[in-house]
Symmetry: C2
Subunit: 204 residues, 2 copies
DNA sequence: ATCTTTATTAACCAAATGGTTAAACCAAAT
DNA sequence: ATTTGGTTTAACCATTTGGTTAATAAAGAT
């Protein structure tokens, strides 16, 4: 399916594992299926990645380090909150439309194994909300924003941007849309969501 | 763990299956583990529910019919949009704090098998958004609400209410809170979220 | 009391699954 | 040409897993 002769075997395995793990999860994935997807022998998986668990962790870390910088854009950028919200929503939705399995995969697996995020945060100082919080506090005190706590605002921003992709089957069901219609609704959200948030928090 | 002598064997199985399936998912759950949790022989699972798949479906349907009425409160109630938002957020968050595994379970399994929602919608006419849409349209035309589409507003309401529970490990990570702290943040949201939405959509 | 149906168990089974091994292959170094 | 090192494969293995079966126990019906 996703073979490219340019890549090394080790890379092909990672790509195949990504495809299978992201759509079926750790428990649903089969080593044989990953081997088939990569077009190689199952023993190669263990040759390069030792165990299923380690292969999975490689995939997860790779997925997480794809997502984390996106989130950091809103946490560690210097422009105004309003500006960041605008940029983030548009960028993030484009980003996820390119990686549709990503948010669900990460959320699902973090729930399966909550300790996992600790391992990852050890290495990288990803996801530090402190700067964002003090920025919100400042803009609230200046009267630019209505009173709101930084954590709550950040949760709201994530929720409005990420949730629709995680709940895609549910949304498709009650809107009675197919994949194309769903994508259109998401495209609309690139501007709708930032307007929604801005109206909610901006002091006029 | 969760045995109660009042229930019939069949009910005990369903309770046990609920516990295991909701925390581990279909693929991660083991029939033996469910039997142990119910305190009975594994053969009994098949005696009452035939296969793992059917047992799972019983659990899923039961979970879904617990959640669906909550969602319908906001779709098929007669009060104003603003009022419904206020009631829904508060009620829904209380509801989920009592059933913490529920949203994640449903979302995870719907993603694993998107056709599943079709089976469910055949029987019950759950999740019909039409009334809500026309109500939003009406209030927008009257100048009560700022221009917004019904679907988008409904997605936003769901997102703000459901997402935090689905993304709990992520939220705990960047807020550096434990379970208690997380719960407090959720309690705050009972009012915060409806204020946030109201400010976003209400025309002043 | 006896028959009949339903409930429950221990033992068993075949298939699937993650992982191993020993041999073959192949490119680069000697 | 031969050795050496990493790479790849087919066959194999032990364990797990969903599911079955045959025998037993309990409960209702006659």
């Amino acid at each position: 399916m996703a073979k490219s002769k340019d890549n090394t075997t080790e890379e092909q395995i990672l790509i195949a594992a990504k495809n299978i793990f992201q759509s079926k999860g750790m428990d649903g994935a089969r080593m044989q299926e990953i081997a088939d997807e990569a077009g190689i022998n199952k023993a190669m998986l263990h040759y390069y990645y030792k165990t299923k668990q380690l292969l999975f962790e490689a995939v997860f870390k790779s997925a997480f380090s794809l997502l984390a910088p996106e989130l950091n854009k809103i946490l560690n950028d210097d422009s105004s909150i309003e500006n960041k919200v605008k940029n983030f929503t548009s960028n993030y939705i484009s980003f996820i439309l390119k990686h549709p399995y990503l948010p669900n995969f990460i959320i699902q697996e973090l729930n399966r194994n909550p300790d996992f995020i600790l391992k990852i945060q050890e290495n990288t100082t990803l996801l530090n909300i402190e700067k964002f919080k003090s920025q919100v506090e400042l803009e609230v005190s200046k009267g630019i924003l209505k009173p709101i706590k930084g954590e709550q605002l950040f949760i709201n921003i994530l929720a409005l941007n990420i949730f629709p992709f995680v709940a895609k089957p549910l949304i498709k069901a009650f809107t009675k849309e197919d994949d194309k219609g769903f994508k259109q609704i998401m495209e609309q959200r690139k501007t709708e969501v930032s307007e929604f948030i801005t109206q909610a928090i901006k002091q006029y």
